[in-house]
Symmetry: C2
């Protein structure tokens, strides 16, 4: 099909898919450039780029200080390979886009500079290494630039833009907050400085201004909450008022203020972006229309045949009936052509996931009709469809939970595990037997997929574990751990039985993809801080197992930590000695609690200003990024709660309703849907197939599982769908 397509059609398809995926690449219009552009956007090319970006980032695991050391030659060769791939991708992009656009775009310049810097640094480091001179691989902190700046990671770039726009506003609030902090510190110095009080560790209390500022900053994060107050409180109860005032002003009011500022800017920025995107999308669709338009009476239109070719090019994998539905909606009056206004909607129409479920009879019913339709089989199926079936399995899950909690050394209980596994497998088999397998494993049947995967993974792991045990008499700890986790995960199923929980869970599942953006954002921040942290603190703190008799094993191998809270808390394994450890430390710092113990510990083994590293991380990660994350969750939930459908979704639904039947207009649950499908078929069987409905179609808008009605297209739709 694509072979026969004209150049215009190809170009128009490129515009439409740009609009559909909100891309904004001003590509050249030559035949070769359009073909290159298709190649550039091909999913394989993109996956390869992502692979090399993550390979490049994960090099830090293998470079010194390494989790799994590889020779310098190997890592540097891989790095050069990655840089070559990035350069290739950039060159490819340069061929696709217009020259002046390419050179104006800062992200391309950024990538080139990053490649150059990395190569230079690699060369210098390599040469110095040959002469046995140690230098710093400073270019490693530019690696996240590739993750941010490649066109594929639009979401992460948008999040960074959002942060940049929030910065000025947040800076003012931050300065005011710092002012308040400095004022309170001054008061604390005056009030407590000359009392000669001591902390619980016997150190002087509130003597040094800078230390007071740090302690009170930590109090804002609540990490040293009652401890910092106790000496003053023990001296006089009235001094508690000072700390209460401090916490109210700084922790409650200022921290909420940060959230308010971040959330407000996030919303404002989101609105602007959406407005810009809508404009861009509209422009692209108009360009596509202009390429395909033909004159029809007084107006320009796109004829049905060209429109179909276009849709096939843009979305080759949607079903025929789905395409017909889209045509029905675009060509409302079945005039054989599509006008400009309807054409422009196409990008949005394509974006709405309409699931085409074909009502078809069970394959077993076709292969072995006599057996499948026998009385026993019917009874079995009606049993599975009964509410009681779900309840029975809920009870089984609860009993299973109790068995898991019990000790499993007793043989009965380990046998019980096999019984439960068998019961779960029977459940899945029964369901597949009753419902149509393709519907049961449909694209949006999240819970069915989840169940099946968990149970078969558990089966595999249990069998593997038993085999290992009987052959080598040895329990593999890793496999056993996985078995335990899978066993407990099976219990999650019970949530799906309760309607209210299901709604919340579905909302959570819906926001997972966007949450990944924050994963990316966090990854970038963590990478940069981990690399800096390794340079600053590498090897300063070491972990020795309890049995070790190395000197200062309890002080993490560093006498400077003697009697420190860090050593007393047994935090030695929290160090920056390799990339993985650094990530875990940064995670603990993100959680905030005890971060001052870390800051003091690492400052003790290096220099006092090292605390600035921890303060900087707190500001960037907790004050900015976590607040953006919270804003994002808030916004996502408000949107889910408001249940408003987009205009286009409403249009499609209306059309489906107009065309279809009113029967299934009300909201139905998935299982009910499957039920209904089955019983419709069932009725059909009973009535001897008088209605031509056995090949009926069910459309379903997939974007909002909790609120989307289901539509069943009956006979009337066939008029439109031919």
């Amino acid at each position: 099909m694509a072979e026969g397509a004209s150049q215009d059609l190809l170009l128009a398809a490129a515009f439409v898919s740009d609009a559909q995926y909100n891309r904004n690449i001003p590509f050249r219009t030559s035949p070769e450039a359009v073909r290159l552009y298709y190649l550039y956007n091909h999913w394989i090319m993109r996956t390869v780029t992502y692979f090399f970006i993550f390979l490049n980032l994960s090099l830090a695991v293998f470079e010194e200080p390494a989790v799994y050391p590889l020779p310098f030659l190997v890592t540097s060769l891989i790095e050069v390979l990655c840089l070559l791939v990035f350069f290739g991708r950039l060159t490819h992009f340069a061929k696709v886009t217009l020259r002046n656009v390419f050179w104006k775009d800062t992200k391309n310049i950024c990538i080139m500079v990053a490649i150059l810097l990395s190569l230079t640094d690699l060369a210098i480091y390599g040469v110095l290494r040959m002469y046995n001179m140690r230098s710093i691989r400073w270019s490693r902190i530019v690696r996240p630039i590739f993750l941010i700046n490649f066109a594929e990671s639009r979401q992460i770039r948008r999040a960074f833009r959002s942060i940049r726009n929030t910065l000025p506003e947040i800076t003012y609030v931050f300065l005011l907050f710092m002012f308040s902090l400095l004022m309170f510190s001054l008061m604390a110095l005056k009030l407590f400085g000359e009392r000669n009080l001591q902390t619980a560790e016997g150190l002087p209390y509130f003597k040094n201004y800078l230390e007071i500022v740090f302690d009170l900053y930590v109090l804002v994060t609540t990490a040293n909450s009652p401890d910092v107050m106790m000496p003053a409180f023990d001296f006089s109860s009235w001094y508690a008022l000072f700390f209460i005032a401090f916490v109210i002003v700084n922790t409650y009011i200022f921290m909420s203020l940060f959230l308010a500022v971040v959330y407000n800017n996030y919303k404002k920025h989101l609105k602007n972006e959406i407005r810009k995107l809508a404009y861009m999308k509209h422009r692209k669709m108009i360009e596509a229309f202009n390429l395909l338009k033909e004159e029809e009476g007084a107006q320009f239109v796109v004829r049905e045949a060209r429109w179909k070719q276009l849709v096939k090019l843009v979305a080759p994998d949607i079903s025929n009936s789905h395409r017909e539905l889209l045509l029905c909606i675009s060509d409302n009056e079945q005039k054989g052509f599509i006008d400009k206004k309807s054409f422009v909607q196409l990008a949005d129409l394509l974006n709405i996931q309409v699931i085409t479920l074909k009502i078809r009879s069970h394959p077993l019913g076709q292969w072995m009709p006599r057996v499948y339709k026998s009385a026993v089989s019917r009874f079995l199926r009606s049993m599975v469809r009964h509410r009681g079936f779900v309840w029975t399995y809920d009870v089984i899950i609860l009993i299973n939970a109790i068995f898991i909690a019990l000790d499993e050394e007793t043989p009965y209980i380990s046998y019980a595990e096999w019984v439960f596994l068998a019961l779960y497998i029977i459940e899945i088999l029964l369901k597949v037997y009753t419902y149509e397998p393709r519907a049961f494993f449909g694209k949006n049947q999240f819970w069915n997929w989840f169940d099946t995967l968990i149970i078969f993974a558990a089966l595999t792991a249990t069998v593997l574990n038993t085999t290992l045990k009987s052959t080598t008499k040895y329990n593999s700890q890793q496999i056993l751990d996985i078995v335990f986790i899978l066993r407990v995960l099976r219990l999650i199923r019970i949530v799906d039985s309760i309607q209210r929980f299901r709604v919340i869970m579905n909302t959570l599942i819906n926001i997972v993809p966007t949450m990944l953006t924050f994963g990316g954002l966090t990854l970038v921040v963590y990478c940069v801080f981990a690399i800096i942290g390794m340079e600053l603190f590498h090897g300063k703190i070491q972990f020795f197992p309890a049995s070790s008799n190395v000197p200062y094993a309890l002080e993490c191998g560093n006498p400077a930590l003697k009697d420190s809270l860090f050593a007393r808390g047994k935090y030695c394994k929290n160090n920056f000695n390799n990339f993985a450890s650094s990530f875990i430390v940064l995670m603990e710092l993100t959680v905030v609690n005890q971060w001052h113990v870390f800051a003091n510990g690492f400052a003790n083994v290096t220099v006092q200003p090292a605390k600035l590293y921890f303060i900087a991380f707190h500001i960037v990660m907790v004050i900015i990024i976590v607040n953006i994350f919270v804003s994002f969750i808030l916004e996502a939930f408000f949107v889910e709660y408001s249940l408003e459908k987009s205009e286009v979704e409403t249009a499609i639904e209306q059309k489906i309703q107009e065309l279809g039947m009113g029967v299934q207009e009300d909201e139905l649950q998935h299982e009910q849907l499957l039920d209904n499908m089955e019983s419709a078929e069932h009725d059909l069987e009973g009535e001897g197939g008088t209605k031509p409905q056995s090949k009926g179609l069910v459309f379903k808008i997939a974007s909002k599982p909790t609120s989307s009605p289901l539509f069943c297209l009956g006979p009337s739709v066939h008029a439109c769908l031919h």
Copy 2:
């Protein structure tokens, strides 16, 4: 004026002021009832009620276990007095309102039941006490009911209603969260239970299911963040993944979800309340209109004279010119009467704080014109008005900050303090000399008031301290502390010099009144929990000064705390031995950090289920009330940011603009305003008083200091204002 007012007018005024203050009391319409109603709403009656509510609450300070012990007879007499006052207030209310409305209102029933319960409990306790039997004063926890249920504390009731409406939704999320917690605990039991690991304190690690649930619940609050993970992490780095997954799911996602649910409900509820209030207000205004209306042509109207009488009754303390302005707005075309539509607006018009500033010459200029207008005086005044004057004082404040930070044992520095005090006093005197004193100390000149109060308090305290020192050779610590705090507070002034900070500060100051609602809410929750806490934990933990040689002084007098984190952290003074201590403990629990140490400590000295008390407090205070507080701050800031003015505010502004002159339409700063007023007067002097503007009026809408334009009414307004 009120004497001569007819019954109709009085009744209408009652309706209007009900609408103005959003009261919703269906009062009787008999002359006596209306008079009683006025008395009921009189500010003295309300203040008295509040006084007795707080007196009743503060009884807990004097009752056993007491901060300041009073004999049982005294406290019980005070309590009976309070209850009598409450009963009197209720009876008063019953006389004002309709009988069937009174008995239908749950809050009246609540108050009566609370009074009865308190009296019964008091009687039983008193009798048992006579026979030397100890019993529990359980009725003390009903005391906050008076704070919630008296009609005056509408805001607190609204907040409680909002919480009640949020509960069902939050319960579902909470159950799902608990399910997730139980699942993770089960996994933790299976993964770590049989490893025989030990915590940093040498206790068994993750052995008991209920303890795991508690530890992981604490981890959700991040209070035991790295500690709970360290033993497993030391055993194998991979186990960190379990805790990372746990924190992401429970701390980040579920806790944000709680905020989202609370905020969403808060907003929804707020919208409903506002809609209801608007409807109620409209109805009341129509009732008032119907009482006063007279026929005028085809429509019913209220005549100007009656309208004026009404406004004088409703708002006796607004200035004549302000009333004229309102009349101008209501009677737009100066027809001598007000139609229904304009009349209904009155309640909103009255609610907008319009400040009438009269441009008048400086009193000194009138008393000693020759001196005040001399060249030296003029130069002085122009100097004070110069930007440089503000800058000079900013520099002085900075230098002062440095001096405060320095040690003050050296005599020079203590002399410097006198110099700074003198400089600040000179500044205030100069400003009062330059600007008109009544304008300088205007109602909304927050910073001028703040400055003056702080500096005169500091002056008084310093003088007092010096006198004490020179006469008794003894530094009073309390006075010295106050001097220190005042000295530092003076520095806040510098914030006001920077425009951006001023905007943020003004927003903060604006939301203070509503924040007091949360003060009330917190007070209620704290009172209830403090009284329960005292019953549960009273006397179990004792604080001894470091020098004490009581046995187990380091274990807070309780051997059960030996080697516990509670004793090691020296938390002994955090106990429930009296009302004040309980409040401080609850405050520390609200801040969350180390709450598990408290929970474990108090569970060790009593019974393990005592932990439930702490968990319940965490759920009520942190998950619900703090989230409502954050929602409230978010909403308040969004409203401030959106800068949208209400319809009526816009109407007033338009009118002021229409009537006034265009000169001062743009936004001016307070000081600039004062400047302009001064220079206008100045010009006048120079020109020999040709313009009749010296008694001009300046109106200002006070509700939004950052965004409200200032209006100056020139000659043209006098046409309307006569």
